[in-house]
């Protein structure tokens, strides 16, 4: 596939340096030659000169289990939305490897700032998946304690959390928890965002602040090719990972459907941050197999052929092939994971349906740490009003 020069100008235009296509190359449907990969879609282990590493059978089986269970959380939640138990759900289908790779590369002291789609990272951090559903059911706006798992609440305004991550990382620096050489102390922060968010001012400001202060933050962009209906071409004329160079820190593109490569690359970027070498942009090149959310209809804007071609790059299938071919997992193991997934699905289903609605008066709670008399009076007024409807609440 060829692409026109983005500027439309001939390369002999004087004064502006080389043509952009010469610098960045034509756009690549397959992620291009810069794509870091350790496990091909066919399940072949390949090697990379920088990010190669050995994985134990236990680690590989662990990745497989994480991805299968994460996918089950996603399909279960999607079904719960269809049954009217959730108002909406943001699906992660197809992005399991990117999230599990990024999530398992973390150390306990690291801190994660997610979007609203990081169900797999939440899983790795030990957040009860049932707690993820509250936001989408409408019973809360984030039901877990961020400090319990170093996993911030989901952020819905696109890209806002990248600044929070950068500021948190600046706090880490001020606490002296960078570059001490103590593996249990040195701390990295991860800012998750997507290809759509890469256009936001906040993301670009986060890049600038992180670069300026050399903050220990990893910008982890899941480029799933679509921001609702808008393709990546609407957000960027160059591969996203190359944007980092303009901000003064390294960027890499990893196969986001390859859990091994995502893990290895994120681990290296996190260590770089912990060592005090500053920010890194990791572009996990993946594909949003499902809709943006359960309210979206992707058949209106994208070709089923594209979806079919990405199905062949499924993140779970390639690990299963590798495990089987190398005798690292047998039918019993795979069946046990399926059984565990079924059990998880059941737990989520029942837990979601029995999740109680909050009390009306709870809306007055926690508006402030130090409640105001004004708000207290409003609460009391509404409580008294409700009292006039005997037995109706």
């Amino acid at each position: 596939m060829t692409q026109q020069s983005p500027g439309g100008a001939q390369s002999d235009t004087p004064g502006f340096g080389p043509d952009l296509v010469e610098v960045f190359g034509p756009s690549q449907q397959d992620g291009g030659p810069e794509l870091i990969q350790l496990l091909t879609p066919e399940g072949e282990r390949v090697h990379h000169h920088e990010f190669d590493q050995d994985f134990s059978a236990e680690e590989l089986r662990g990745f497989y289990r994480d991805m299968v269970l994460t996918r089950r959380i996603d399909t279960e939640a999607t079904a719960l939305q269809r049954h009217g138990e959730l108002g909406i759900w943001a699906q992660l289908l197809g992005q399991e490897a990117a999230q599990i790779g990024a999530g398992r590369a973390l150390r306990p002291q690291d801190y994660v700032f997610p979007t609203y789609r990081e169900h797999g990272v939440a899983w790795c951090r030990g957040v009860d998946p049932l707690r993820l559903l509250g936001l989408f059911r409408g019973v809360d706006q984030g039901g877990w304690d961020p400090a319990a798992n170093n996993f911030a609440l989901y952020t819905i305004v696109i890209g806002a959390q990248t600044l929070h991550a950068t500021g948190y990382a600046m706090g880490v620096q001020r606490d002296g928890d960078v570059g001490t050489g103590d593996p249990d102390r040195d701390t990295a922060v991860v800012a998750h965002f997507g290809d759509g968010a890469s256009s936001q001012g906040d993301v670009n400001e986060a890049f600038i602040f992180a670069a300026s202060y050399n903050a220990p933050v990893v910008f982890f962009c899941q480029n799933n090719q679509w921001a609702i209906s808008e393709p990546i071409e609407r957000q960027s004329r160059i591969p996203l990972y190359q944007r980092a160079l303009g901000f003064g820190f390294p960027g890499v593109r990893v196969d986001g459907n390859d859990v091994l490569a995502t893990y290895a690359v994120t681990k290296a970027a996190l260590q770089r941050a912990r060592d005090g070498q500053g920010p890194t942009l990791v572009e996990a090149y993946t594909y949003r197999m499902g809709a943006h959310t359960t309210t979206d209809d992707p058949t209106r804007y994208r070709l089923s052929n594209d979806v079919e071609s990405w199905k062949l790059k499924d993140p779970i299938a390639r690990v299963e092939v590798y495990l089987r071919r190398n005798g690292l997992a047998d039918d019993d193991f795979l069946a046990s994971i399926q059984a565990e997934a079924d059990e998880l699905g059941h737990t989520l289903r029942e837990g979601c349906k029995s999740m109680p609605d909050p009390q009306a008066l709870s809306m007055f709670d926690h508006v402030y740490a130090e409640e105001t008399d004004e708000l207290r009076a409003q609460r009391e007024g509404y409580a008294a009003y409700l009292e006039t409807f005997e037995g109706s609440h």
Binding site: Q141, D145, P146, L163, H164, G167, Y168, D202, I208
Partner: protein, 327 residues
């Protein structure tokens, strides 16, 4: 203990210094707040004494300043950020309204957001566009934020420390016209009033005049002038705009039967509208006249050569006082 005469700029500077001495988690961040000491010199000398890690010169990006301060607060710091001028706060508006204001609520109280956002506000300094605005209503309208405005050097000193000690995010409005204007006697051994309280700054019996920030001085002058005509005006410095401290206001209006509100912000849906509504709801049978408002007109802030016509001044306040007796 000895007292000293200080300006508002000095009071704020001393308040920041004291807060930083008392709590190592207090950080300052903003554009030019370090070496330069801020364009108004409010942070003068602080970077020299507390270092670049605690007094942080930021890139020129307001959303970035507030957004990173959110992350610092989540890490346990108490960031105090300076927005260089009122008209530059809008790039940070999303972070302030969607994040700073809501994180405590969203997290069901698990994540506190002890942040102070300092904004020099108001006009009268002959500045170019975007340097003379009064955006307080936009923040007072946002649940989760607290909004205060200081009017004098002594309040600047105490209110700054109290705002920093508050576990909620505080929009801290500083009347830039007053920074270097008048001096007042500060006694650091005194016990300050609580932050979210209004104060009667001149007692009177015939009319209640409500003001905050830069208009307190105007209101005091108006009360003096009115006294020569035999009218006794009570002036209240609101100090807190969200929450409002209505008790002293209502008590006063019940005694005087008349109220005028003055602020530099546009009259339409300004603080005066809210005050008028609350006074009417609570003091309906005490009122001799409707609550009247004197503020900036509902125009964009005009070129500075005609800003004195936009800003409420002594005569326009007195005109409203006169009109109160026309009912």
């Amino acid at each position: 203990m000895a007292t000293q005469k200080i300006t508002l700029a000095k009071g704020l500077n001393m308040g920041l210094r004291k807060a930083m001495e008392d709590d190592p988690k207090v950080l300052l961040m903003g554009e030019d707040v370090g070496k330069l000491g801020g364009v108004f010199r409010i942070t003068d000398g602080l970077q020299k004494d507390f270092g670049e890690d605690r007094v942080i010169d930021s890139p020129l990006a307001e959303s970035g300043i507030v957004g990173t301060a959110v992350g610092m607060a989540m890490r346990g710091y108490r960031p105090v950020v300076e927005i260089q001028f009122d008209g530059f706060v809008y790039p940070a508006y999303d972070q302030i309204v969607c994040q700073v204001a809501k994180i405590h609520f969203r997290s069901q109280g698990r994540v506190k957001m002890p942040m102070v956002i300092r904004i020099p506000f108001g006009g009268g300094i002959g500045a170019v566009e975007h340097h003379s605005e009064s955006p307080e209503a936009q923040f007072a309208h946002t649940p989760g934020l607290k909004v205060v405005a200081c009017s004098n050097p002594v309040d600047g000193y105490w209110m700054m420390q109290q705002a920093i000690a508050c576990d909620d995010p505080v929009i801290f409005l500083e009347p830039k016209r007053q920074y270097h204007a008048d001096k007042a006697e500060l006694d650091e051994s005194a016990t300050p009033e609580p932050l979210f309280t209004s104060r009667i700054v001149r007692a009177g019996t015939d009319l209640t005049l409500l003001a905050y920030g830069p208009t307190v001085k105007t209101a005091m002058k108006a009360a003096e002038a009115a006294a020569t005509e035999g009218r006794s005006i009570e002036v209240i410095d609101l100090r807190t705009l969200s929450p409002l401290d209505m008790a002293p206001v209502l008590d006063s209006v019940r005694r005087t039967g008349r109220a005028v509100v003055t602020h530099e912000a546009h009259v339409n849906l300004g603080l005066g509208a809210e005050l008028s509504a609350r006074i009417t709801e609570e003091c309906f049978y005490s009122l001799e006249a409707p609550v009247l408002r004197v503020g900036g007109f509902d125009t964009p802030y005009p070129p500075s050569r005609i800003e004195e016509d936009f800003l409420p001044d002594l005569d326009r306040v007195l005109d409203a006082v006169d009109r109160s007796w026309e009912f």
